[in-house]
């Protein structure tokens, strides 16, 4: 089972300014980049933002290889989106859309590359704290994020395995031979993950008296 092709960069230990920045500030940066991708109308502005974020990423010491690793899985999709938008709306708009997507990915990678997952989860628990009054369990929010981060490479790896086995059987052009096994494996994985969580007593509401 392969588990590569992860969209966001894994945590890289370090002592850079970004590593030491408060988690709330990094969350805010990701949020602001997401927001900016909606309001930016000039591709040159998007390019400048992307350049600044890439510079910041490299300053953390995570390295250009990890930066490329974070955006590479998106390359084919971005190419298709870019060509379609170019055909429909012209080059400046296509450029802006593609650059804005990259801005969001690099901003999110900056967060995950400089923040250990346990701190990320603690931050999610704190941020979700007010929902406790509405009956929600903040730990479940954190668990959901953690499982999401863990499941993306699994499903990407499943897709790579299924594609190889379809190729071996000469079925690489058959969409059913690709989609169905990935779907079935993903559902089985979700069931197994649920069972593993239950076995470890994770994801349950805060302990209450039983019997």
């Amino acid at each position: 089972m392969r588990g590569h092709g992860f969209l966001l960069a894994n945590y890289v230990p370090g002592d850079s300014l970004v590593h030491r920045a408060p988690l709330a500030l990094k969350f805010l940066l990701v949020f602001a980049c997401g927001l900016a991708s909606f309001v930016t109308v000039d591709w040159r502005m998007s390019l400048a933002m992307l350049g600044a974020l890439c510079g910041l990423f490299l300053l953390t010491g995570a390295g250009p290889k990890r930066l490329w690793g974070a955006v590479r899985p998106l390359a084919a999709v971005l190419l298709v989106i870019g060509l379609f938008q170019w055909w429909q709306l012209g080059a400046p708009t296509a450029g802006r859309i593609v650059l804005n997507i990259l801005v969001c990915v690099v901003a999110a990678s900056l967060l995950t590359a400089t923040t250990p997952v346990h701190k990320l989860l603690d931050g999610v628990v704190r941020a979700a704290g007010p929902f406790r009054r509405l009956g929600a369990d903040p730990e479940r929010f954190a668990l959901t994020i953690g499982i999401m981060l863990r499941s993306i490479p699994y499903i990407a790896g499943t897709f790579a395995d299924v594609r190889d086995s379809a190729r071996a059987r000469g079925l690489e052009r058959n969409p059913r031979a690709l989609v169905l096994p990935v779907f079935i494996t993903s559902v089985a994985f979700a069931r197994q993950t649920g069972e593993a969580l239950a076995a470890r007593g994770l994801g349950e509401a805060d302990d209450e008296d039983e019997d």
């Binding site: 089972m1 230990p13 997952v117 954190a142 668990l143 197994q192």
Partner: protein, 242 residues
């Protein structure tokens, strides 16, 4: 040692095209108090159902299962604090991107302080010699390292009973031996199903399960002999059919 009691525990499941439900486990009645208990049997014989009953992952259709007096249905949370469960495939068990994060996840409910949680997670990893792999992606670990990482995540909360469902099935010989040695050094009561008869021979007591029934219950060597005889008889019967 903890006391795991099966009191006429049976598991049945309805099957669409059959008038009667299918019996996965048939009225098991026994007490497990030994330090090392092995469960052997053919694929589909009911071993996994038997083990899942101990942790409350499967509920008995009739009868009951008790762990130190706690019912696995009515006191399932208390039971799961006492009983750790290790699955065959560690990839479905490790739910965080790295081993350290997964062990910390196990501790999140019981240890609220982040620094203390980190310290306890490092201790848990160090006990199994895994600290140097703590920050590696679980996908970069070998099968044996993953299985030990899953074991560390379960042991971090110090369960009294450790249930393992064919933990060595996906491992090569070296990693199998590593797991075997690691298990031998644990203080917990171990209840483990396995197809590795060498591992079964390490056990203090071995149950042989066949078609949902415990057909042999005793010392390891005679249990393994009984299982071999059962397999050979089954093959002979199949070959004798026209």
């Amino acid at each position: 040692m903890p006391n795991v009691t099966f009191d006429q525990a049976a598991v049945t499941v309805p099957v669409d095209h059959l008038p009667e439900p299918k019996v996965l486990l048939d009225g098991v009645n026994l007490q497990l108090t030994e330090r090392r208990v092995g469960v052997i049997g053919a694929n589909g014989s009911g071993k996994s159902t038997f083990l899942r009953l101990v942790n409350g992952l499967v509920q008995p259709s009739s009868g009951r299962v008790l762990v130190d007096g706690a019912d696995t249905v009515r006191s399932v949370r208390a039971v799961r604090r006492t009983v750790g469960f290790v699955f065959t495939d560690p990839l479905s068990q490790l739910v965080m991107p790295t081993g350290r994060e997964d062990v910390e996840l196990s501790l999140r409910r019981s240890v609220k302080n982040g620094a203390e949680r980190r310290r306890q997670a490092e201790n848990a990893l160090d006990r199994l010699g895994l600290l140097h792999l703590a920050d590696q992606s679980i996908y970069e670990l070998s099968g044996g390292e993953r299985q030990l990482m899953a074991l560390a995540a379960v042991l971090a909360v110090e369960p009294a009973v450790l249930v393992l469902d064919e933990p060595s099935t996906l491992l090569d010989l070296r990693n199998r031996e590593l797991l075997r040695r690691t298990l031998a050094g644990l203080d917990q009561q171990i209840i483990m199903s396995t197809h590795d008869l060498d591992m079964a021979l390490d056990m203090d007591r071995v149950l042989v399960i066949d078609q949902g029934k415990v057909v042999f219950d005793g010392a390891a060597a005679p249990a393994v002999a009984a299982y071999r005889a059962l397999c050979l008889a089954s093959l002979d019967a199949q070959e004798a059919q026209p």
